[in-house]
């Protein structure tokens, strides 16, 4: 049975089509794996096994009739940020702990329309705010990887920690995830999986619980670059229900996988060589540059001069939007309502204070502060101006390169309960230092597992593409994947 769960999405779809096994058999294999692993990993916050069996049965009927669709019979995990009709969706916040959406997010609807099977809802940081999956109302996720120096539990990264952990531990073929400042790419890097955030507007945000609307974007976490292309094809679509949804047609993403990068100009930004970054990260970056050179690409030094301002800019823009988005949680129409209050203001304040966790409250307050009279121009408008400078850096860079290569994270996975990081929010925020620029500029970015550090933990490289050019991003990613030959799996200790 465990053989089936180790399949890639592409491998599983081919096997289903060739009738080597049924979707029901595949689904049962994953159900068994989840039952065994989830008490240790906490990747799923809700399992929907009855629904999965039903969906798999329908897929088997269709496969038998030769009516299989693009993802027919493939068991997937869904980040708890995506609303699923009739299935509890909480964004891992206490304020939504019993919320059952009467509607389906467009991204998940697209997956079901293509025949995918839902195994359950995956753990995440509360409202996607966090870099270690420790702010979840349902408790942290444990990374399936362990350092060879210690037995201590490690974070899978955040906020899509459940998605990354589930894919790395073979608890689904692939998973949906979302990325506001690096929440797909950072956990992918920490777990040896592939994560891609497409161009802003490629995937609909309808039915995704909103964190920072101008930055949030859905994408997949998968085992391979090819799988990422398959998932992306299904997840992305134009959607009239999201007014920022793009109308440009989608290319055939899979056709870029394995494509030659000969003659392609790869930009290496000077400003990403940060002080205090482990030597192993720099060495991996050099190795990535060499792999692409060997594949015939041209390496170009570029400058993104405003890189250092991306994180402080993000920590104004994102909380400002969050404070506005989270204002809807007032205890009146849905979500938690306090039992302890009588008056209206009392009800608002106590419901929100009881329902939200500490990190979410902190960000709401930062957002309220930077938007408040007297500070609006000094902080918020200023950040929006810096954001344009950051986006312009990329526009200038595209004059001399086609795609950009950087490390994905400033370190490998760190310990759960890292007290130093917990005590200083800025320390935790620095985890997204390499990923956040692409969210501010709306560009596609992907993390590909590229090697192990001296403690045996995965490290990722990041490929950043031009707007709407996920294709070249995938092509470069697949060359890195092939050169790295990353076939390591975490030891099964659960």
């Amino acid at each position: 049975m465990s053989e089936l769960t180790r399949l890639t999405l592409k491998g599983a779809l081919d096997g289903l089509k060739a009738k080597q096994y049924s979707s029901t058999e595949l689904t049962e294999a994953f159900i068994g794996a989840i039952e065994k692993a989830n008490p240790a990993l906490n990747a799923y916050v809700l399992t929907t096994f009855d629904k999965a069996r039903e969906m798999a049965g329908e897929s088997d009927r269709r496969l038998k009739a030769g009516e299989g669709r693009a993802l027919e019979g493939a068991p997937l995990g869904i980040k708890d940020l995506f609303c699923t009709r009739g299935v509890r969706t909480t964004a891992c916040s206490g304020i939504l702990d019993t919320f059952v959406p009467p509607y389906e997010s467009t991204v998940t609807q697209n997956l079901w329309d293509d025949g995918a099977v839902m195994l359950g809802k995956l753990n995440m940081d509360e409202f996607a705010m966090g870099s270690s999956n420790e702010t979840s109302h349902w408790g942290p996720v444990t990374n399936p990887w362990k350092s060879n120096a210690s037995n201590a539990p490690l974070t899978p990264g955040g906020s899509s920690g459940g998605s990354a952990s589930a894919v790395a531990a073979d608890l689904c073929l692939a998973a949906t995830a979302s990325d506001t400042g690096g929440s797909i790419r950072q956990p992918a890097a920490f777990t040896g999986t592939v994560g891609i955030k497409p161009t802003y507007g490629r995937a609909s945000r309808y039915g995704m619980v909103a964190f920072a609307s101008s930055l949030d974007q859905a994408g997949p976490i998968t085992k391979t670059v090819e799988d990422a292309a398959i998932m992306l094809q299904s997840m992305c679509s134009h959607d009239a229900k999201d007014s920022t949804s793009l109308t440009q047609p989608l290319p055939d993403f899979s056709s870029f996988v394995g494509k030659s990068v000969k003659g392609l100009r790869i930009g290496i930004p000077d400003e990403y060589r940060l002080d205090g970054i482990p030597a192993e990260i720099d060495a991996l970056w050099e190795q990535g540059i060499q792999w692409l050179k060997d594949a015939g690409a041209e390496i170009v030094r570029i400058s993104l001069p405003n890189t250092k301002y991306a994180l402080p800019c993000y920590y104004i823009v994102a909380p400002a939007e969050a404070s506005s988005n989270l204002a809807r949680y007032d205890g009146m129409r849905f979500g938690h309502r306090t039992e302890a209050a009588t008056g209206l203001t009392d009800t608002y304040e106590l419901s929100r204070s009881e329902g939200f966790g500490a990190e979410v409250k902190r960000r709401i307050m930062i957002g309220t502060y930077v938007l408040s009279a007297g500070f609006y121009d000094a902080y918020y408008v200023k950040a929006l101006k810096v954001r344009r400078r950051i986006a312009e850096d990329f526009v200038n860079a595209w004059n001399s390169c086609d795609v950009i290569l950087t490390p994905a994270t400033p370190s490998a996975a760190f310990q759960l309960g890292d007290t130093e990081k917990a005590a200083d929010p800025v320390q935790m925020y620095l985890n997204d230092v390499f990923t956040v620029t692409t969210n501010l500029a709306g560009l596609p970015g992907m993390s590909v597992p590229a090697g192990l550090d001296s403690k045996g933990l995965p490290l990722g490289l990041q490929v950043i593409g031009k707007a709407l050019d996920e294709g070249t991003t995938l092509a470069v990613g697949s060359v890195l994947e092939k050169a790295a030959g990353f076939t390591h799996k975490p030891a099964q200790w659960w």
Partner: protein, 95 residues
């Protein structure tokens, strides 16, 4: 600029959040740390830069001004803490 406990209390109230005095004190420290770190944005010359509110260049889509959805009273109130006959029940607003 330093944020004192009174400011944090004010911001909490604007945010419709209630925090204990103890929490307010620790939050003041954290917010000072975060905002101090954010001060570095003042190094960037943003004269003549237009604020960026969206990273996609597109005009707002328009549609016909017609009802495209509706008759979903049961769905709308399905997650409400308290309802009666398709209405939300809220605490008394006017004395």
């Amino acid at each position: 600029m330093a944020i004192d406990v009174a400011t944090v209390r004010k911001v909490a109230s604007l945010s419709r959040l209630r925090e204990s005095d103890e929490r307010l004190e620790s939050l003041a420290g954290q917010l000072n740390g975060i905002l101090g770190w954010i001060e570095q944005l003042n190094e960037v010359d943003v004269s003549d830069v237009q604020p960026m509110t969206s990273c996609v260049e597109m005009t707002q889509p328009l549609r016909e001004d017609v009802v495209s959805d509706g008759d979903k009273v049961a769905d709308v109130v399905s997650n409400a803490p308290k309802t009666i006959d398709g209405f939300f029940i809220v605490p008394k607003v006017v004395e």
